[in-house]
Every structure is written in C-alpha cells, then in structure tokens.
Symmetry: D5
Subunit: 91 residues, 10 copies
Amino acid sequence: MEFLVEIEVDLPPQTAAPERARLAEAEARRGRELREAGTIVRIWRIPGRTANAGIWAADDATALHAAIASLPMFPYLRADVTPLATHPLEA
Amino acid sequence: MEFLVEIEVDLPPQTAAPERARLAEAEARRGRELREAGTIVRIWRIPGRTANAGIWAADDATALHAAIASLPMFPYLRADVTPLATHPLEA
Amino acid sequence: MEFLVEIEVDLPPQTAAPERARLAEAEARRGRELREAGTIVRIWRIPGRTANAGIWAADDATALHAAIASLPMFPYLRADVTPLATHPLEA
Amino acid sequence: MEFLVEIEVDLPPQTAAPERARLAEAEARRGRELREAGTIVRIWRIPGRTANAGIWAADDATALHAAIASLPMFPYLRADVTPLATHPLEA
Amino acid sequence: MEFLVEIEVDLPPQTAAPERARLAEAEARRGRELREAGTIVRIWRIPGRTANAGIWAADDATALHAAIASLPMFPYLRADVTPLATHPLEA
Amino acid sequence: MEFLVEIEVDLPPQTAAPERARLAEAEARRGRELREAGTIVRIWRIPGRTANAGIWAADDATALHAAIASLPMFPYLRADVTPLATHPLEA
Amino acid sequence: MEFLVEIEVDLPPQTAAPERARLAEAEARRGRELREAGTIVRIWRIPGRTANAGIWAADDATALHAAIASLPMFPYLRADVTPLATHPLEA
Amino acid sequence: MEFLVEIEVDLPPQTAAPERARLAEAEARRGRELREAGTIVRIWRIPGRTANAGIWAADDATALHAAIASLPMFPYLRADVTPLATHPLEA
Amino acid sequence: MEFLVEIEVDLPPQTAAPERARLAEAEARRGRELREAGTIVRIWRIPGRTANAGIWAADDATALHAAIASLPMFPYLRADVTPLATHPLEA
Amino acid sequence: MEFLVEIEVDLPPQTAAPERARLAEAEARRGRELREAGTIVRIWRIPGRTANAGIWAADDATALHAAIASLPMFPYLRADVTPLATHPLEA
C-alpha cells in the first residue's frame, strides 16, 4: 500500500553546527536505506523549506510508522500521512 | 488494517422529504451490511451534527474507498480518513 | 519539472445522472491522454472523497495550467499545486 | 459514555535521554492501568507523529479529565476530545 | 453533565418569508420547552450573527444529540459541542 | 454584560515544580475572589487540556480585561473573548 | 462601549438587478441613520471585497446585535464582533 | 503605492455558456485597460485554479477598490489585498 | 491613508521583570509620540490578551512599516495590517 | 519560470545584537547578489512584520530552492512558494 508522506523538519535554531552535520549525515544514510528497500518510492524537496513530500510503500500504517520513526530526525519532524487508493487511470 | 473515518453529510436543504426518507433508509441498509461484514468495526454519532466517526477495517485504502463510495449518501458526504497504526498498549 | 497536484471535485449535487455519466467518461478519456503523454506521472485516489493526488510533469506552470484546464471537470474542481524540487536522495 | 480522544505529545527537543526514557516508561505503565480499567477502550498510533487516537470510556467529562491528567506526559501533551453519541447502527 | 453548544443557523437566503416565520415560531416554541425542561441551562445570542452559545445539560452525548436534533431548524444549523468538566473553583 | 471567556494556559514546560505550585495556588486564590465578586459567573474545565471556559460578567470590555489581567497566570495564558447578547428565550 | 465590527456581505449571485438596487439603497439609508445616531462611529471599506470594518458604539452586545440586525442586508451578511477595551494611550 | 492582489473567481457552475463567454470577454477588455493604465503592473495565473495574483498600483486603498470593483467579474470574485512597502533591496 | 493594525505582543515568558518594565515604559513613550503625531488615530486593547487594534494613518505602506518598526516591542510583536478604503457613508 | 515567494523571518528573540547585525548584513549582501543576478525580480516588505513578498525567477523548483537556501537567514525563515503561470493579459 502507498502513502503520501509530507515531512516538515523543525530543528531547534540553537542546535550546534557539529550536531547539525551529524544528524544530516545520519538522516541521509537512513534515507538511502529506505529508498533502496523500496519503502521510499519517490521523494521531493518542497522548495524554500526544510520539508519534503514522498510516496512511501509499506504493508500497513504500523510498518509505515516504524519506517518514519527510524529516521534520526524523527524527534524534530512532523509527518502528515495520507493513505492512497488506486486510481482508475492506473488500475 | 484499521482507519478512523469521520463523515459529514451535507444533504442540500431543498431535498424533498420522500427523497430524504428514501436515502436515509438505503443508507441505513448499506450501513448494516458494512457493519455485519466487519468493515465498520465501531461507529458513533457526533452530537449536534449530521456526522459520524467510525473505526473501519479494510485491506487497504483502495478497499476502504470502495466501501465508503458504496454508501447511497456518498455524493452528499465528505469523509476524512486517518490511517491507524498499532499502539504498543495493544500490541 | 514535477508538481504535486491535489484535485478536489465538487460536482453540484443536482447534476442529472446522464450529465454526470457524460462528464465522468470525458474526464477518464482526457485523463488517459494526459497519462499516456507523460503529463500525469502517477495518480492516486484520496479514499472517501471525490479527490485525487498526482505527480504531474510539465515544462512550467503555464503548461501545467493548460493541462489541468483541459480536464472536462475543470469548472467543478479545485487543484492545489506544489512545485517539487529534486531531493538529494534522488539526485 | 464514550469519547474520541486525540492526543499529540510535544516533548521539548532538549529533554535528556534518561528523562525521556523515564517518562516513556511511566507513561506506558499508566496507559496499561487505564486500559485494564476499561477507561481506554481502544487506542491507535497516528503514523508519523508522536500522537495517538483512542476511544475512552468515562462517567462524564470530569472523570475523563482526571484520567487524561493522570498521564505522566500530561504537561507535554494536548488532547482534543469529541463526545460520542450512540449511532443507530449500534443501537 | 453539561455541554457548551455553539449553534450557527444558515437558512437558505431564498427561503420565503412565511416559511421563515413558521420556522422561527416553531424554533422558539421548542426552545422554550427545552429551557423549561432544564436541557438548555443558559443561552445567549452571538451579536451580529444568526448564532447562539448555550450551556446544555443532558445525561450523555446521545441525549444531547436527541435534544439538538429535535429543533425545527436542525436541517439548517450546525452545532459545535464541547463537553464540560467540573472546574475546581466550582467543586 | 456577560462574556464567554475561553482561556488556554501554556506554562513553559521547564517551569520548576515549586514555581508551578506557587502559581497554581495564587491562581486559585484570585479565581475564588473573582467568583465571589460575581465576575466569574460560571466556569468549566475543558477536558484533556489546561484550559477552561467561563461566563464572566463585567461592566464592559475594559473591566473584563482588568479582571483577566489580574490573574497570576496572565503572562502564560491566552483568552478568547466573545461578547454575549441576551437571547429571546431568556428575555 | 465600542466594538470592532467586520462585515462581509454575500448576496446570492442570482439576485436580480432591481432587488440588488433596492437592497443597496435601503442599506445606505439605514447606514446613514446608524451613523447619525452615533452607533456607527467610523466605517471603512475593505478594498476588493463587499466587506467593511467599522467602530460601533452600543450600550452592550444586546444593543449592538439589534443595530446590526436592523440592516436590510442582515440575512446576507456575516459580522465578526470584537469587544474593545480602553487602551492606556487613550485613558 | 503597490498592492499584492490575489483574486479567486467563483462563477456559479450553472452559468450558461453565452453568459460565461460574454463575461470572459468583458473581463479581458477591462483587464487590458487597467494594464495599459498602469494599474495592473504585473499579473499571473495561479495554475490549476480560476485565480490570479497581481501587483497593482493605485494612489490608495480607495482607488484600488474602485479599480477592482470595475471588473465585470466583481460580483463573482474575492480579492485578498496585501499592502506593499518598499524593500531595502529596492530602495 | 488609513490602516487597521492588529498587534499581538508575545514577550518570552522568561523575560526578567526589570527588562519587562523597561520595555513597557519605552513602548508607552513611543506610543504617545505616534499618537500625538497623528500616526495612531485610535487604539484599543483586545480584552484578555496582550494585543491591541488600532487605526493608523500614514502616507503609504512604507511609512506605516517605519512607524510600527519604531516600537521598542517590535522584535516581540506581530502586526496584521488591513488597508482601509473610504466607505460611501463617510464620503 | 517565475514564482511568488513569501518569506517570514523568525529570529529567536534571545539572539544577541552583534549576531543580529552580522546576519542582517550578510542577508542584505546575498539579497543584492540575487537581485543583480535576476533571481529576485521584485521584492517588497510586508508592513508590520519581518516578512517580505517577492517575484523570483529560476529555471525550476530545484534552482529556486538552492537560491532561497543560500540566504544566511535560511535556518530562521519559512518561505511559501506559489508557482506562477503566464496570464493571458501578459501573453
């Protein structure tokens, strides 16, 4: 099943540069794993914000939550999840 | 998989009484079928409005859409769907 | 360039059944053309509503508007468009 | 009487790991008590967020508030409460 | 149990004057009955709008819904209901 | 003149326990004074939140503001005020 | 006591021109009366909309509602009312 | 002085094709006049909607309102107006 | 030209009392200057909040911004500005 | 392609004056570069707020994001981006 996942990251402005860099690198690494595993099907940046929109695939909402919660940035992000149904044009 | 489905019905005020009655009866009949099939797990009225909140079970969003769209009131309602993940307290 | 396009259709409830059927068929035909042309890259139904979310590709916002406005349902729909930037995970 | 209770937890990002762990454990313990007492009838995670939706049973709003306020996370959460009426399909 | 009930009435502008008068009178009559029965504890007009705010008393949300739905204006109104808990200042 | 006053308290999570206790006690004391003076006519807790709804009586908005601003929690709260007009059912 | 009153007029688009003219004239006449009586202290147009913002003076919310409801456009408008307190700069 | 003007047109769906064409032509004619007069400095379509965003120049809000109200579509549109101040980068 | 300016002040709760007093005094002094210069035409407190609504007069949005930005509380406030057009009742 | 970019800056109130000055200067320098490169086509201040509205030109959303993210204030701002299509009046 696919989901539209819109993620907004809100890192506290006082986060020190090294911690920022460490988090960014860990996030990118975990993101690549989820992308290679096919959990993140497609992902785009929302221009002008530290936000992204993505199509995620997971067995159900429980598996989807586990995937999103595995992101190192999870304590600093908020994800809005829309379940997606097959559209007749793709059926 | 379970979903929280919040439905608001907005029947045009000029709908004649017989059509209103016919729709209400057809809606109740289809609702009972979905309840007996286990698609509607629980359902409540939101007091003061022609609205309800329910826990629905369906294989995925496609099956859920088919179930909601099978309601005779579908052209007059709007459903907000929240996918639900297992909570550790119930795992 | 890709865009996230979220479309909500709001056909007046008093629309007669034949007109509804004619519109739905014309909409499906035009949708297939846009899909085959690669303008609609992916499209999903939002469960419980006469709404969809899609990834559209177009040269720019002017070409995107022309594509959306070519839908027979255009007078009855509202599209929210989010421009999408390449995400580092896909770069 | 039943209530739909939607809880969003907003723990300050600077909370230290041990305090986070202590709070999570205390929260889980109190949650189990409320679940066993029948106050929390059903509970789900909202995927992608530190949030949950639940069906709670309490004599009235005063008893419900006491139950929610007994959660160790209470200073860090916000609950939106919808009173639920019996739906004819369940009457 | 008490509830804060905020009601907004949205009578279609094309409603003819006699129907308007008939509805207003029936609404006032039913309102007086609910007031005398103690269901409507207090009620105020929201200035500048066809809206009111009231404190209603009912055994539970089911009884409250029955009371609101008994208003002749029910098809034309929308009620927002907030359940009320005892405040320590009044305990 | 009466007002519907909805107050949401947002004490910073890092407030130390003794300061929290001191504020809560001072707030309760001032609340009792306003209640005895007839300024707070009725007051309820909004379940699940550090919030309340109340009916306040004051000569005008200036006197009402003075009463609300006299609360020790004033720097940490936000009040939404709705002026109330007499409803024909109570006239 | 003074109030900030923001009025948005939503005349049904199908209203015939003569009825539109009659309403506009009656509205202007009643507006002048309220202005001369000192009920409307100041009034401005919100550019680009059939809307206005005004400072109204009335004994209380009940008198204010009577004044707004006396406008011939009352069935077609929505007023948002903010009670105003004396500011120290004007005290 | 310049203003950001965002206009959303909401023509009733039942408007007949000839009336639609007549309005569109009159709107385009008046738009060209305002553009040539320098009142509309720049204008863009919001993709996917019958909406536009524009930079308008007018002596003040009164002149701006007169210009917007001179559009044949005025009864069917809603304009949101943001006054614009000189930015240091352009000073 | 006149503007409706609604200002909400959000001083960080941890601001020490002497700094609070200094800011309040400086704000009052600057407010009196703007009032005497005719920039602030009228001003009211919004009851229950550290907020005010005012009618400001300025040559244009640039001059208005300079006036608001000259307030000592400017780093802690947010102003919503509505440009005002002459209403026929005052023309 | 052009974009409407609305930027709101939210610098933490506790930022020290020298850091504030350094950021403001760096921001102005980068702004001038983007203006001279034709990326920022026009820009205005939103009166009363640390916010601006601008017309930006970029090849696509990816280039636009790179330009906005190059602003020294990027960690403290939020940009809302609307893609702009050619309007027939300018075609």
